[in-house]
């Protein structure tokens, strides 16, 4: 039997006065970590709000853990751990009260794991939430989501505002969650270093549209920056799958999203250097390319 996809979005549209999320389709399989990457205002948080039932789509279909959203959100949210950088706990209650409150709602709450995380994150249950630093607050919210052992973790910019050590700790915990292959994570961020580190599938989104979605390794294999030196008077023929071209006298820098040995062979002896690109470079090149295409 095929396991139920943890996230299914099909041709989803959501319009606001100054922003429209258009024709968004994406899937997340059990056991996957998907990084949802986009610049500020790209539509990442809107996508996540649609997935958690906070917003209803104007068109299209959304299913989370097999449940139609937002209609069956109460059922779906039993198995979703949702954390957003905007989410706040009750300031006048202690963190311990929050743990007790959440543990009384979720039967799968793992007390032992919660205690381990309290130690690891350096939190104090007896402390009032209003006294937590912003980093501690993020850790506290994440602990409440992780210790309930959800099948799907939806994280909206969870590491923003955290120092590198705290980010490292949290990303390690996310990896730990995925030891169980029935669990999955959707992780939105504009920090491509974090996304590159933990995601196995990446979706780029910009100005309300999905611009590319693929396995991380596929992205890293497909994208290359190639530096060429052309003989005097020579011109470069039109090449397919060219994302950008920068000319500097005899030197040309090409960026392609379909790198292959055949392309290298076609370019011949003029090739001076072939550079692998990191996710940030791929992300920026991808966004700029799609903005250019849309502008045309």
């Amino acid at each position: 039997m095929t396991p139920t996809k943890h996230i299914e979005m099909l041709n989803v549209r959501k319009a606001f006065r100054f922003f429209t999320l258009e024709d968004l389709s994406l899937n997340l399989e059990p056991g996957q970590i998907m990084g949802l990457v986009g610049p500020n205002g790209a539509g990442k948080s809107t996508t996540i709000r649609l997935l958690t039932g906070l917003l209803a789509p104007d068109a299209g279909e959304i299913r989370v853990l097999g449940h139609a959203m937002p209609e069956a959100q109460a059922l779906a949210k039993r198995d979703i751990g949702f954390v957003s950088d905007e989410m706040r706990l009750f300031g006048h209650a202690t963190f311990g009260w929050h743990m007790k409150f959440i543990s009384s709602i979720y039967p799968d709450w793992d007390e032992q794991y919660a205690k381990t995380l309290v130690q690891r994150f350096g939190l104090r249950p007896e402390q009032n939430v209003s006294g937590l630093s912003s980093g501690e607050h993020v850790k506290a919210v994440l602990l409440l989501a992780l210790a309930r052992r959800p099948r799907l973790l939806i994280l909206d910019e969870p590491t923003s505002g955290l120092d590198p050590v705290a980010r490292h700790e949290l990303l390690s915990e996310f990896m730990d969650v995925l030891r169980d292959e029935n669990r999955s994570i959707l992780f939105s961020s504009h920090n491509t270093v974090d996304v590159e580190r933990i995601s196995d599938r990446i979706t780029f989104i910009d100005r309300g549209r999905l611009i590319d979605s693929s396995d991380k390794e596929d992205f890293l294999e497909r994208w290359r920056r190639i530096q060429l030196q052309l003989p005097a008077g020579a011109t470069l023929p039109d090449l397919p799958h060219l994302v950008s071209r920068v000319d500097d006298g005899q030197f040309v820098t090409l960026t392609t999203n379909r790198y292959s040995e055949d392309l290298l062979a076609f370019l011949g002896n003029g090739v001076r250097q072939v550079q692998r690109m990191n996710l940030e470079e791929i992300f920026v090149a991808n966004v700029m390319h799609h903005r250019e295409l849309r502008g045309k």
Partner: protein
């Protein structure tokens, strides 16, 4: 009532416990001051009245307005409940929270009228109508807080409902069938009393039902 609903209602009581306790104590102090004689009666009753009204406004604003403003709403909505569940829980939970001091202070005011020898029992219908008005007034503030995120609209609602108290007292004074019996030795439960009480009950029912049909059916919750 399912487990989650009762947990969330208990959460309202826990988070607002000091407000509930503090308001009840302040209102009781007002009643005790009122019991100390004719001069202090007005001061004490003003304190009693202000406490109930201010408590209702603060409860609705802190629990709904601040939850939105301080972004704890996202945390609550990440729990396994629908928008409809959230609205229903807020209506029931906050009504129950309000009923604690309202009941104590309402019973206290009635007792004061019955016990104090210099207060005529004819004031009893007025005390009951005033308590009914406070409850209807609170339900209107609660209903508004559930329907609007605008601080401007809420300020307008609060100003209007506060002015409503003065108007209500004037109105009672202007209705001869109520005013004429205020200083009677025994309470008069006439048809005018029941009509006004009926209007208060209808306001209560409408304002507490409206969120179920409007706010609970909202598709976007931000």
């Amino acid at each position: 009532m399912n487990m989650l609903t009762s947990k969330l209602i208990a959460k309202e009581f826990y988070l607002h416990r000091w407000l509930i306790i503090g308001s009840t104590i302040a209102g009781v102090v007002g009643l005790l001051i009122a019991a100390e004689g004719k001069v202090r009666f007005n001061i004490g009753m003003l304190m009693w009245l202000t406490t109930i009204v201010a408590f209702g406004i603060m409860l609705a604003m802190i629990s709904i307005g601040n939850e939105r403003k301080e972004r704890t709403l996202q945390f609550v909505l990440s729990l396994p409940l629908s928008h409809g569940d959230y609205v229903r829980i807020k209506v029931v939970g906050l009504l129950l929270c309000f009923l604690v001091p309202w009941t104590v202070l309402g019973v206290g005011a009635v007792t004061l009228v019955l016990v104090m020898p210099n207060l005529p029992d004819g004031l009893l219908p007025f005390a009951v109508l005033l308590c009914g008005f406070f409850l209807a007034n609170y339900s209107l503030v609660l209903c508004s807080a559930l329907h609007t995120a605008s601080e401007g609209v809420m300020t307008l609602v609060i100003i209007t409902t506060n002015m409503g108290i003065t108007l209500f007292i004037f109105m009672i004074g202007a209705i001869p069938s109520l005013n004429d019996h205020l200083f009677a030795p025994a309470p008069v439960w006439n048809s005018t009393f029941w009509t006004v009480l009926g209007v208060e009950a209808a306001t209560l029912v409408i304002t507490l039902s409206l969120p179920y049909f409007v706010a609970a059916r909202r598709r976007d919750f931000t």
